[in-house]
């Protein structure tokens, strides 16, 4: 069962095509993340689904019923934005209660609902404060509370954590996951931050230039990206890419070659090898295959050190143990986990299979 389904949705603004034949199925009860860089069409997608924007073509179904022409109110979806848009003169309790007051619910029912939401969000102690007396994270929770109190079909969230500092963002990720689990409602969450997508989503759809590139679990998108663009957008540090071609049963680039681990490719076809930093190692015991190069820079991060290695005309970033001691320009051997390398067609950028 899908709460939301978009079929062939296109939308242009002037000569800018924001959405280009978008297909999307958001399963009921899922934490579904729409991930893409700015300008990919994420916010337009949300606005079309919410009924704030009319698509040029295509249909939107909500709970299996065509809602393409339905008003935002009839769709019964709650939007949460990155700006909190709280009423500055009202307390947190009054802000949370505002959608219920608009519906003219009895006073004790409103109070009961506000308490329930405050408990869920753990903001009971903030209820009597006004927005100016709250931190950004607290205001964000109150804004969320105002959406939650309505008990809509689904929550549409547009980069709600963007304006928070890093520590708070990390904390709110944990909170949102917990809230989603205890509500059991559908969350459709838009972000340009792949860490948010990886850490919170049941399902992630990667959007680029108004088109869905790939849909799957975060692990699937991370381990089996369908093209070079997705491979590069998901994961931090970014996947390493180096140019190569197939030659005599091997993959050969400038200054290196590796055994071909079973990709069926014609010799001479321009290819791009992709490999993540954690699938490279400076430990020779991990070696199934290796490259040699020189140390370009080392970046200690505490729990790990990123070692940048120059190999031929390319550069690879290797995830190494924290205390690795290397000098710039030092020759070095990098072990490659061949089971984990990716190969892309250099022209189409599509992933090739083994």
């Amino acid at each position: 069962m899908n709460t939301i389904r978009a079929t062939g949705v296109s939308k242009s603004f002037g000569d800018v095509q924001a959405l280009d034949g978008l297909e999307l199925e958001v399963p009921t009860g899922s934490f579904f993340v729409l991930l893409g860089p700015s300008g990919a069409g994420k916010t337009t997608t949300l606005r079309v689904l919410a009924g704030l924007e009319k698509p040029d073509s295509g249909t939107v179904e909500i709970d299996g019923i065509d809602a393409t022409g339905a008003t935002p109110a009839a769709r019964d979806l709650a939007m949460v934005f990155q700006s909190y848009a709280l009423y500055p003169k009202q307390t947190a309790a009054q802000n949370i209660a505002s959608p219920l007051r608009a519906r003219k619910l009895p006073k004790d029912e409103i109070e009961r609902q506000v308490r329930r939401v405050a408990e869920l969000l753990r903001i009971e102690r903030l209820l009597d404060r006004k927005p100016a007396q709250m931190s950004g994270g607290e205001q964000q929770r109150v804004a969320l509370g105002r959406a939650l109190v309505r008990e809509p079909r689904a929550f549409l969230m547009d980069e709600p954590l963007t304006n928070l500092d890093l520590k708070l963002r990390v904390e709110m990720r944990t909170e949102l996951t917990r809230i989603h689990r205890s509500l059991g409602r559908t969350f459709l969450y838009v972000t340009n931050d792949q860490v948010e997508a990886m850490s919170m989503a049941d399902q992630v759809a990667v959007l680029r230039q108004g088109r869905i590139q790939q849909v799957g679990t975060p692990a699937h998108v991370y381990d089996r990206p369908v093209n070079r663009w997705v491979a590069s957008f998901v994961g931090s540090p970014r996947m390493n890419f180096v140019a190569c071609e197939a030659r005599d049963g091997r993959l050969a680039g400038d200054g290196w070659d590796l055994p071909n681990p079973g990709f069926a490719v014609d010799e001479g076809r321009p290819l791009t090898l992709g490999v993540r930093a954690e699938d490279l190692s400076l430990d020779r015991r991990d070696e199934t295959a290796s490259l040699t190069g020189t140390v370009y820079a080392t970046e200690p991060l505490g729990d790990r050190t990123l070692v940048d290695v120059e190999v031929g005309s390319g550069r690879l970033q290797v995830k190494a143990p924290p205390r690795v001691a290397l000098e710039m320009g030092e020759p070095i051997t990098v072990a490659v986990d061949l089971d984990r390398v990716h190969l892309f067609d250099a022209a189409t950028e599509e992933a090739l299979s083994r």
Binding site: R238, E299, D303, Q317
Partner: protein
């Protein structure tokens, strides 16, 4: 190239705000020295005092053995690179980079050679004839850097130069800066509020808080042995676990019985706060030996690792695990400490007490 000494520096603004209380620093010749802290901690004011853009209330700035307190910014022979690029929009990259040398009246052949060398090191050769508006943010940043490089100053001073770049470019530029600084061998003082950037770039890091120096050390010293609770909290993501512990039976014990290796120098019954990084804990099936029961609150699979938050008797704990860790949300687990003795802190002063 030069070393920089800061001696007894104090900066008080006319409104009475004390930006720097009292600062002594020695930055070695050729060092990449990072000043790290939240906004308002005094790091930028310190940089501006070194640059000569701000006059300290008392104390000395010594660059290359010379007291520069009475020299203007332009007389100090240092190059400042700001958060914003400040390129001349009507000039090509080549002319932007050449500008400081032309202003000094250098011969054309010398200018051309210097620009070519900077362009080669910064990989700007194909862009030299473009104007800034036709360049990406990262390319503009590199041009700004090129303009600073050609002067061959005694030191580079950088104030959050990567802040406005997107995440991917920031990571690329970080690598480039580190490589370039090492190759040039020029002293660099770099200000940032981003602890990841500080760790990745710095030979040493100075952590500031409220106009005071909390700690100076190599990235690994700062990460593994924070000098104070402030430094411990400021560096590292996910955050360090701070556990209230008591020394009993030769180990530091937290509420619920989680046992942590004790450093030397503590006495039985001493109560301290232990700083345990997320990789200093591990999760095991419930009932495991030498571990305490806990419940998974959240699980963030990031691809190359999975970060758990668990509820234990001593509070919520962050645990860094490999991507293959099998525990689901709400699952009962056991938490065990692993590794050597962690740094410990006095709860009242917030300072490290042993280890």
């Amino acid at each position: 190239m030069a070393e920089i000494h800061i001696q007894g520096l104090r900066k008080e603004f006319p409104d009475g705000t004390v930006a720097i209380e009292h600062l002594d620093l020695h930055i070695a010749d050729g060092e990449l020295f990072v000043m790290l802290g939240p906004s308002g901690c005094g790091k930028t004011t310190t940089l501006r005092c070194i640059a000569g853009l701000e006059r300290q209330t008392s104390g000395n700035v010594v660059i290359g053995g010379e007291i520069v307190d009475d020299l203007s910014a332009s007389e100090r022979d240092i190059a400042m690179v700001f958060q914003f690029y400040a390129l001349y929009p009507h000039m090509t990259c080549r002319d932007n980079i050449a500008f400081p040398l032309r202003a000094q009246g250098k011969p054309k052949a010398e200018i051309d050679a210097a620009v070519a060398e900077a362009a080669r090191m910064l990989r700007l050769e194909p862009l030299l004839d473009r104007r800034p508006k036709r360049l990406s943010g990262g390319e503009q940043q590199r041009v700004a850097l090129g303009r600073a490089m050609v002067r061959q100053p005694q030191a580079f001073l950088m104030d959050e130069p990567l802040t406005n770049l997107d995440a991917e470019l920031r990571a690329d530029m970080r690598t480039e800066l580190k490589h370039l600084q090492q190759r040039l061998g020029t002293t660099m003082v770099y200000v940032t509020h981003d602890q990841v950037e500080a760790m990745a770039l710095g030979h040493r890091i100075a952590i500031f808080d409220h106009g005071r120096l909390e700690q100076v050390g190599t990235p690994m010293e700062v990460y593994e042995r924070p000098a104070s609770l402030f430094a411990a909290r400021f560096v590292g993501s996910p955050p360090i676990n701070l556990l209230d512990v008591e020394l009993t039976n030769g180990a530091l014990t937290a509420a619920g019985g989680l046992r942590v290796t004790a450093p030397d120098g503590l006495r039985r019954g001493d109560k301290v706060i232990a700083g345990v990084r997320p990789e200093g804990l591990t999760l095991l099936p419930p009932g495991a030996e030498d571990a305490v029961g806990a419940r998974v609150i959240s699980r963030e699979a990031l691809g190359d690792e999975t970060i758990y938050v668990v509820e234990a008797p001593c509070g919520q704990l962050h645990v860094r695990m490999p991507p293959t860790a099998p525990y689901a949300e709400d699952a009962p687990v056991a938490v065990r400490f692993q590794g050597g003795a962690p740094p410990v802190y006095d709860a009242a002063s917030g300072k490290a007490v042993a280890g």
